[in-house]
């Protein structure tokens, strides 16, 4: 008992040091929230602690950005759906079916994650002009899926490879086709990695800037990231609403990190990352 206690007290300085590191790393996030709560519009004389917290900046941010937030939310949810519908069966097929071109597809997926978004945007723009997909939710959903789908396939496949073949065989022997077996066995078993894939797809699309910037041309249709960018483009006079908007944009990431931490850590460690 005494030994445990002394080990604890020897370890404690490391915890303190870790908290200091973390405080430095997360200071910008704190400063964002702090500024967003400052009462004055200019936030120039920001105090280190919001002594007189005010939500004025938030009401301005929401009145400026509510439409943009809706757009971002719809695009992000659409991206999650498209990504899961395309990536989940593909991941299963690539994990278990021994198809002749599996290696080539895996290679293409790895490489696709390395292609800069601006390169895709450059030629996609000309296609979107022709198809009328600029300034549209489907257009952004399809473009944003380009970062989500390869990532989702890679983490889903990594998990599905570990599903014991006997599990699926049992269903197949009972007369279930591939789709039935997939839907009633593979999907429920893979629940956790599907959630991870969904969360990251949401974050990718919610955070997307490159496609938001290039695939929209109107002042009325804008995702939230572009709303922030437009604040920055002009000479910023009052930072409080900008920081309030940034806080709102950061909210999904913060919520997910707090409440869905195990899924996020799983995704972060899967090696293939943004």
């Amino acid at each position: 008992m005494k030994a445990v206690k002394s080990a604890r007290s020897r370890q404690l300085p490391y915890t303190v040091l870790a908290v200091v590191f973390l405080a430095i790393m997360l200071f910008p996030v704190y400063w964002m929230v702090n500024t967003s709560l400052q009462p004055g519009p200019s936030a120039v004389n920001a105090t280190f602690i919001p002594l007189h917290p005010s939500f004025a900046a938030y009401s301005q941010a929401i009145s400026d950005q509510l439409g943009n937030m809706k757009t971002s939310l719809l695009v992000a949810l659409g991206t999650v759906i498209v990504t899961l519908v395309i990536a989940t069966p593909a991941a299963y097929g690539l994990a278990k079916f021994k198809l002749p071109f599996t290696g080539a597809v895996m290679l293409a997926l790895l490489i696709s994650q390395m292609i800069p978004g601006i390169v895709i945007a450059n030629s996609l723009y000309t296609v979107y002009v022709k198809l009328g997909l600029l300034n549209s939710i489907p257009g952004l959903v399809l473009a944003d899926s380009s970062s989500a789908i390869p990532f989702a396939i890679l983490i889903l496949r990594a998990f599905m490879q570990s599903i014991p073949p006997s599990l699926v065989e049992a269903a197949r022997v009972d007369g279930a086709g591939h789709w039935r077996a997939f839907w009633s066995i593979v999907v429920p078993v893979s629940r956790n990695s599907i959630i991870t894939a969904a969360l990251f797809s949401f974050l990718f699309a919610w955070s997307d800037f490159v496609f938001a910037l290039t695939m929209t041309t109107s002042n009325t249709f804008r995702p939230l990231s572009l709303g922030i960018y437009n604040y920055l483009g002009s000479n910023v006079q009052s930072w409080a609403p900008v920081m309030a908007t940034a806080t709102l944009a950061a909210l999904p990431a913060i919520i997910l990190l707090v409440f869905a931490q195990r899924y996020i850590s799983a995704g972060a460690l899967s090696g293939a990352v943004k």
Partner: protein
Amino acid sequence: MALSVSKVARNVPPAETRAGRGPKRRWWPDRVTQLLFVLPAVVYLCLFFGYPLVKNVIMSFQNYTTSTFFTGYAPWVGFANYVSVFKNSLFQTTVINTVLFTVGSIAGQFVIGMALALFFKRRFPLNGILRSLLLLPWLLPLIASSSIWKWMLDQDSGVLNQTLLFFHVIASPVPWLSSPNVALASVIMVNIWLGIPFNATLLYSGLQGVPEELYEAASLDGATGWKAFRYITWPTLRPVVSVVLVLGVVYTLKVLDIILGLTGGGPANATQTLATNSYQQSFVQFSFGTGAAISNILVATSLAFALVYLRLNRRAIDE
């Protein structure tokens, strides 16, 4: 249909063992069903990666103007776009900036990420929670992070200058983002901040793979601290290190959000990189041919590093 498929399936060994039977692979109707699982993803990859890459090569030989999108007229100009890119004095600046930005960002991210990974390898209370909170900068929308830093680095009222002035570290406010001499360093600093979680997380998971017995054996021989790192940690970790570094290069080459948000490529093109320049040629100047030419240079560079990554990865797996 389902019945006939299942009949076939019952007579055939499961997929796992069937492929092992060698080259005599028959084309069951079953196989068609299997292909349908993967088909949508393959079609998507072709449309959103294959086609744009090919289209970019074609576009780089054409002359696009603002009117092209109304008339559809983009005449063939051969290598003129590439010639104009290479001749432009800006190209040299962007290449130098891209190299400095990439090398500076990765050096900083890697060293700090490694230090944090080694630190978190120790056991102490709250280790897990603190380590996962460290991921936050990596999960935030990049443009939100850019806006925070633009505010913190504000010359007159940003918190960094205010603090440094208060402690008399500097005599006058530093023009972090508005001076051509400082802007690139500031942008690199922000990108280092963003990349630390990624590096620390991957290196930390790599460190978990270093067997504890090695350290115990080494400590008997007197190798602790730096020596243990030099002779045990580093050699064992090397495959992970290579992968982290190469991925770092590829992801840093892509960076657009941070630079556009912080400086827009300015002042005086001091932070203009291949990625931002490609964006500006296409989407600001509407010279999509030139933008495509720069894009292709960017892709070629990324793919060169991607090949290195794939070779390293394969070697890491083989080992």
